[in-house]
């Protein structure tokens, strides 16, 4: 069994709640932050982590989530700038060893790579998968499936 990690997930939307549920199920200690408490309803009944209501761009909220003890931070809010700010604060101020941010605008990825933030761009990922699927479809029937 993998070692249990302390993981902070910022944003409890579709992506955030799915990650939090899955990570909690795998036995990790998970903290979810979202300003809208209603979003915590999307967490599954067996989610065993903590819910912190609040705006993650405020230091007090990050402290309440015990970010200084986190092994991993994942920023998944629907606002690129919130994700980028939270990721940098986690990396540089709270010294979180692994920090990842979702960024919608592919142009911003390059700048933030330079700042040492690992970004995942859903647009680029989806585009790649579509392109991959297209080349697969043009393969003769019965060809390799991923």
């Amino acid at each position: 069994m993998k070692a249990s990690r302390f993981i902070v997930v910022v944003g409890c939307g579709r992506l955030g709640s799915q990650l939090a549920n899955q990570l909690s199920r795998e036995g990790h200690a998970v903290v979810v932050i979202d300003p809208n408490e209603a979003t915590f309803n999307d967490l599954s009944p067996d989610f065993s982590g903590f819910r912190v209501p609040g705006d993650a761009s405020q230091m007090a909220v990050l402290k309440a989530a015990k970010l200084q003890r986190a092994d991993i931070l994942i920023a998944t809010t629907h606002e690129d700038n919130v994700n980028l700010m939270v990721a940098q604060v986690a990396r540089k101020i709270f010294q979180v060893p692994r920090v990842m941010a979702r960024v919608f605008d592919p142009k911003r990825e390059t700048v933030y790579c330079r700042l040492g933030i690992r970004t995942i761009c859903p647009t680029s990922v989806a585009a790649e998968m579509f392109l991959h699927a297209i080349t697969e479809d043009t393969d003769p029937p019965g060809g390799p499936a991923a």
Binding site: S57, Q58, M59, D80, M85, Q88, V89, K92, I93, L115
Partner: protein
Amino acid sequence: MKIIIVGGGKPLYFLCRNFTAQGHEVAIINRSPSECTQLSRQLSALVVCGDGSDARILKDVGAMGAGVVLAITPNDQDNLVICQLASLQFGVPRTIALANDPDNAAVFEQLGVTAFSTTHVVSSLIEQRASLEQITNLLPVGEGQVNVTEILLDPGSPVIGKRLMDLHLPTNALVAVVIRHNRPIVPRGPDDLQPGDRLVLITLPENHGPVLKVFTGEKP
């Protein structure tokens, strides 16, 4: 010098007016089309409607040749990203972000972005100035490490009739000048204080409050 301001509202309007009056070239980025229309009518500045944290918009307003980028939107995360984009991608030499949450001012500085908090600025001004009516002038010198304060002694002051040498002033404080009947005197220990005297005090930020209380009698 070319100055780019991202934001809106009255602060942006008056800042822009000041900068253009000083002869600077100003460009504005604002998200709201209606506010942009209004700003372009009122100000002689380039106004671009859009997201200031979008590299394309920054390019459109000419961030490449700008001397200063000032990000004063109501969202701290936007202000941070605007400043980082401007300096990293466009090489703008000086970027300044507004920290709406006063805690973020220190955070931004740690992330390498110059920041200011209006809450800090206004509250320290109020602390030093508005709470005491007798203070007629205040001037921070030496990068804010020393305050030069002018106060008016009213007849109710507890130091009236006392000699300077008998005052219990905190250390690192000085009555530098007494202006009596429009005549400045550099006072010495045996000189006394009279109602209507205007004093010029030298204090440090840490003893500023206690020193003022000696003269105004306000309880700490």
